[in-house]
């Protein structure tokens, strides 16, 4: 019985480690978002980031749907403001890698929060349980770890590919100034991809 309790305690410890990693991700996301703001608006950025981190931390603690959405909403609003500021100051091209990173991190945070919410009911505060419960928790922790790693690699890949597209765009522009409006291609490619996707659905 003691061994079982220790095993459950051990798994709960792993679960807390994963949640801590998710919290670190949320903190990193909001700090990254704050960094995309100009220095004269840093107070607003800090204020937004503070709320975002708070909501995110609470959502991770409680496995709550509402607080997760609130944290993502704060992130979305902050990103929109940052993008609008950069558009207004005509510095979006320089800030694009940072903004893209923030965007990908928001997506990752949303997925991490959803993952925590999904697994939260499995973890009871009660240390007692059966061998079956211990096995179930073990599988849950394994799933969560694997999923977090897969999400990180896919979203990381997305970010790298996007940067590569941007870099290729720059190369094309340098080689062929006529293709300076690379976005047309990006739009065309994106739209056709989406259309392909929808056609595939039907």
């Amino acid at each position: 019985m003691e061994a079982l309790e220790k095993s459950i305690e051990n798994i709960n410890w792993h679960w807390n480690i994963i949640r801590s990693a998710h919290l670190a991700l949320i903190v990193f996301t909001f700090l990254g978002l704050a960094a995309t703001f100009p220095t004269n608006l840093i107070v607003i950025a800090a204020f937004g980031s503070g709320w975002g981190i708070l909501f995110g931390a609470w959502a991770l603690l409680k496995g709550d749907w509402l607080w997760s959405r609130a944290a993502i909403l704060v992130g979305g609003v902050m990103l929109s403001v940052a993008v609008l500021i950069q558009i207004a100051s005509k510095t979006i091209l320089q800030a694009l890698p940072g903004l893209l990173l923030a965007y990908v991190l928001i997506l990752f945070s949303a997925e991490a929060l959803a993952l925590t919410r999904q697994h939260h009911p499995t973890y009871s505060k009660d240390k007692k349980g059966s061998q079956a419960y211990s096995v179930m928790l073990q599988k849950s922790v394994e799933h969560m770890t694997r999923r977090t790693i897969r999400l990180a690699s896919v979203l990381g890949g997305c970010y790298v590919i996007t940067l590569a597209v941007l870099f290729l765009g720059d190369v094309f522009v340098t080689a062929l100034p006529a293709l300076s409006d690379i976005s047309l291609y990006i739009v065309a490619v994106s739209v056709s991809l989406a259309l392909l996707l929808i056609l595939r659905e039907d």
């Binding site: 993008v83 558009i87 979006i92 091209l93 694009l96 903004l99 893209l100 965007y103 990908v104 997506l107 997925e111 959803a114 999904q118 697994h119 009911p121 499995t122 973890y123 009871s124 009660d126 007692k128 349980g129 059966s130 079956a132 419960y133 096995v135 179930m136 599988k139 849950s140 394994e142 799933h143 694997r146 999923r147 897969r150 999400l151 896919v154 979203l155 890949g157 997305c158 970010y159 590919i161 996007t162 597209v165 941007l166 409006d181 690379i182 976005s183 047309l184 990006i186 739009v187 490619v189 994106s190 739209v191 991809l193 989406a194 996707l197 595939r200 659905e201």
Partner: protein
């Protein structure tokens, strides 16, 4: 396979960025479309999410609970398909009235072909009754949840939460009619028993231990003791859970206490070897034919577990005259558990005693709390209590009355109570 709402949200987000790029004439904004497009493409390139082939079994231990006893539920799941399931969310449906004590009824896991997994949780029921566990809901998605397949596996199991039973100790009954089987009720006939009945001359073959040496010395010939035979009787427990049990005259849940008392009495009477039947008079009438043994006890408590207080569809008098009188032999014992609130209850008890049944009436003690009541309510309550007191006096002339409440120990009340005199 259609996109989920999440997939659609990602698609819409991509178009929002395209729209913004066009509105602000800022081509670089379209870079934000790339991650979404990659994710959607990545998801659509994967094989379509199929409904998994799962075999599921649920086991409960113990299969039924007495009162606050916990029930451990284990759900075994096996992936019968030949493909991996990357994302499998399972949730066993538990009725809201059941309390989850530990473990979890939901889990998200990955499963390989032929792999087994288990859901484990512990539940308790604050109220008696029969609850249905299941069906099991499942949902499989791709890594980003853009495509899904969901459904339910119909594995239903009943959980019975039986009323609490207390040990009442031996109940002394005096029935005017006893059955042929040995038991604990004095039969007023010579037979195997422990109580002295009469003396008679010793006959060859009698057990030497039965010789009464004192009487033999006095009479000058061998005398033997005869004992009063102890046999079983038929007992019918009638539980009145009609509207009266919901009266504000009582400070506690009368129906619950009545059911619990009925279960305790049934258990003790069965234990004493009697043939026990049950009749519940409530929103749904319940009848259990008299019978012996543990299986009968299970039938009785299972019927008591699902008792719901409410307005009865037929008058009590009709229910008693049409069923009890025709099924239960006359001069048997009828235990009547009733708040004595109905108009006809007293008449029914009188009828039963007239027909020769021995009636014992268990009735709850009226409350005295008046907090939160207006003067008119207090007056109404007093009138009601007085009316009930008159009924109680009328009943006590015909039958034995034992009052009960959560504060009164029924064991003590039963010990104080003496069965009626021998005829």
């Amino acid at each position: 396979m259609a996109l989920t709402s999440k997939g659609l949200a990602y698609l819409i987000l991509a178009y929002v960025f395209i729209g913004l790029a066009l509105i602000f004439r800022e081509p670089s904004l379209t870079a934000f479309v790339v991650p979404n497009a990659i994710l959607l493409l990545f998801s659509s390139r994967k094989p379509p999410v199929k409904a998994p082939r799962l075999s599921v079994t649920r086991r409960m231990y113990p299969p039924r609970s007495f009162g606050s006893e916990h029930i451990d539920v284990t759900v075994r799941i096996q992936n019968d398909s030949i493909e991996n399931i990357d994302e499998l969310q399972l949730k066993d449906q538990i009725p809201e009235s059941l309390k989850l004590e530990s473990g979890s009824e939901a889990v998200t896991i990955s499963m390989q072909p032929n792999e087994q997994a288990q859901l484990w949780y512990r539940i308790s029921a604050p109220r008696r009754g029969t609850y249905v566990l299941g069906p099991i809901l499942f949902r499989t998605t791709d890594i980003f949840g853009f495509h899904e397949s969901s459904g339910e596996i119909t594995v239903l199991d009943d959980v019975s939460v039986l009323p609490k039973m207390e040990k009442l100790g031996a109940i002394e009954l005096r029935a005017r009619r006893v059955g042929p089987w040995p038991g604990s009720i004095p039969s007023r006939k010579i037979g195997p028993g422990t109580e002295f009945f009469e003396l008679r001359s010793y006959m060859p073959g009698d057990d030497l231990r039965r010789i009464n040496w004192k009487a033999s010395a006095k009479s000058g010939r061998l005398m033997a003791n005869e004992f009063e035979g102890e046999q079983v009787t038929d007992v019918l427990v009638v539980v009145d859970c009609s509207e009266g049990t919901m009266s504000r005259l009582f400070d506690f849940d009368v129906a619950e206490l009545e059911v619990s008392l009925a279960a305790s009495l049934c258990a003790q009477l069965i234990h004493q070897g009697n043939r026990v039947g049950l009749s519940v008079y409530s929103a749904v009438r319940t009848w259990v034919d008299p019978g012996f043994g543990k299986r009968q006890l299970l039938r009785l408590v299972n019927s008591l577990a699902v008792v719901t207080p409410g307005k009865a569809s037929v008058p009590l008098k009709y229910a008693v005259e049409s069923v009890i009188v025709s099924v239960v032999p006359a001069r048997s014992v009828i235990i009547f558990i009733s708040p004595l609130m109905g108009e006809e209850t007293v008449d029914v008890i009188e009828d039963l005693t007239t027909k020769g049944y021995g009636v014992i009436c268990f009735t709850p003690v009226a409350g005295s709390r008046t907090e939160g009541m207006t003067d008119s309510m207090i007056l109404a309550r007093r009138i009601l209590a007085s009316e009930r007191r008159i009924k109680l006096i009328d009943v006590s002339k015909k039958a034995r009355v034992i009052e009960f409440s959560p504060e009164i120990d029924v064991r003590y009340a039963l010990r104080r109570w003496r069965p009626w005199r021998r005829a």
